[in-house]
Every structure is written in structure tokens, then in C-alpha cells.
């Protein structure tokens, strides 16, 4: 399994923080894990928590912004990672209460 170097993690964390800041208040936070996708390829799985308003009134616009702004800042192919994204809003997380999304 791919284990990102400290520098790579720092780069990912910095990009994530920047995207969250840029898309505030629509994006509340972004969590991620690195692992393998269904076919065994290395992947990074982003979990993006959105505000209720953003998810209800402009979901496609916000999700597209998140995907492309992360891709602008992180060269996933050279990292050997394929990015996947999942989204939920604050109210949904309040109900589902998953630690990985907190």
C-alpha cells in the first residue's frame, strides 16, 4: 500500500485547508484516507462535509468546485493516486454520526 511521505501528507493537508478556506462557508471540512479502490489501484478518498444550504441550493456547483480545486493543487497522477469524492451535509452527519466524517 502507498504510504505518503511526511512531505506528501503536508502537501495534501495544505491543499485541503486552502480549498476549505476558499469555499467557506459552503465547505465545512474535508477528511481523507489513502487506500485502494475496487480494482486495487492506489486512491485517495475525500469526505467533504458541506453546509446544509450549499447542499440544498447549489450542490452540483459546489461539488464541482471542490473536485477541480483539489485537482488544481494536487498532482494526483504523479502521486500515483486516483481521487474519489464523497459528500454529505451537516444535518445528515448529525443523523449518521460517523466518526470518519467528524
Amino acid at each position: 500500500m502507498y504510504l505518503p511521505s511526511a512531505a506528501a501528507k503536508q502537501e495534501i493537508n495544505a491543499a485541503v485547508s486552502e480549498v476549505v478556506r476558499l469555499l467557506d462557508p459552503d465547505v465545512v471540512h474535508i477528511r481523507y484516507d489513502i487506500g485502494r479502490d475496487w480494482s486495487g489501484d492506489q486512491a485517495i478518498f475525500f469526505r467533504v462535509l458541506l453546509s446544509d444550504e450549499a447542499s440544498r441550493t447549489r450542490l452540483r456547483d459546489v461539488t464541482t468546485q471542490v473536485v477541480w480545486r483539489l485537482a488544481e493543487r494536487l498532482d494526483f497522477p504523479s502521486m500515483g493516486l486516483f481521487p474519489y469524492h464523497n459528500f454529505r451535509n451537516v444535518s445528515e452527519q448529525d443523523v449518521l454520526r460517523e466518526e470518519a466524517w467528524a
Binding site: 475496487w38 480494482s39 450542490l59 452540483r60 459528500f87 454529505r88 451535509n89 445528515e92 460517523e98
Partner: protein, 157 residues
């Protein structure tokens, strides 16, 4: 209405089936159905080129998810390296890979909880990919892509 459109409609129906407290079963089936809408669209397009109609369903069963992913990945790599790719084809390839992973999680990962927001985003990926495909389906690049889905690793011209 073509079968892929029926599947996509069904995916949206499932996503909205329970107005306030969506069941995981409805959300999971919506995700899986959205993937198959795009999957069948591409396969139907590819096998429709085959002249002997009664053989098309046999041909359709030879398409493999893994090979299709690899061809989509090639498209994305071409874009990343500055190669010329129709933006719509990039959308199809990108969204196909995303949908495939989501479908796998929806069908096999029972530890995973889905939200309606997540599912509606997945359905939008399928909708965008289908729209993009229909905008370019008659172009040479789209036809070459279909051929590669069927005969992966075709030498580049």
C-alpha cells in the same frame, strides 16, 4: 425511452423514494443503478455497430468493468499530459471511473452509510456523463473510444 434513460430515471426515483428519512437500501440501489445507466449506454452504443443484430447481446456480455476503467484512465492521462481530448469525452471517462467506485461501495461495502446529498451528487455524475456522451457520440474520437472499450490497448494512431 432508451433503457439507460429508464435506469437513470429509476435511480432518481429511488433517491427520492423516502422524502424525510431515506433508507440505505434505496440510496444504495440508486447509486448502483446510476452506474449501470452509463455502463449500458456505452455498451449499447458499441454493440449497435455490429451488423448481426442477434449477436449483439452476446457481444455486450464481453465488456469488462476493469478494462473499461483502464481505457477511461488512459483518456484522463492523455488529458493530464496535454494531449488533445474532447472535453465531453474527458467528462465521460472521469465520471465513469467515479461511478464505478461508488457502485462498488454501494453494492459491497455494508459498513458504509450513504447520505442523500452523496447520492444526488453521484446521480449528477451519471447525468452529466450521459449528456456529454450524447453531444459527441457521432464524432470520430467517441467512436474510437467505443472501439477501445471493446478492444482495449488498441495501438494509438
Amino acid at each position: 425511452m432508451p433503457f439507460p434513460d429508464d435506469l437513470l430515471d429509476q435511480a432518481y426515483d429511488l433517491a427520492h423514494k423516502e422524502p424525510t428519512d431515506p433508507k440505505q437500501a434505496s440510496l444504495r440501489r440508486a447509486v448502483s443503478t446510476a452506474y449501470y445507466a452509463l455502463f449500458h449506454l456505452l455498451i449499447d452504443e458499441a454493440v449497435s455497430k455490429w451488423a448481426v443484430e442477434r449477436q449483439r447481446s452476446i457481444l455486450a456480455r464481453t465488456f469488462e468493468h476493469g478494462k473499461m476503467k483502464a481505457i477511461c484512465d488512459d483518456v484522463l492521462k492523455t488529458v493530464k499530459s496535454g494531449g488533445s481530448v474532447l472535453p465531453e469525452l474527458n467528462t465521460v471517462a472521469h465520471n465513469f471511473i467515479q461511478l464505478q467506485q461508488h457502485r462498488h461501495a454501494a453494492d459491497y461495502d455494508n459498513s458504509r452509510q450513504w447520505s442523500r446529498t452523496d447520492v444526488l451528487n453521484v446521480l449528477a455524475l451519471a447525468t452529466d456523463a450521459i449528456t456529454a456522451w450524447r453531444a459527441i457520440r457521432m464524432q470520430d474520437a467517441a467512436q474510437d473510444y467505443l472501439l477501445q472499450l471493446f478492444l482495449p490497448r488498441l495501438p494509438k494512431q
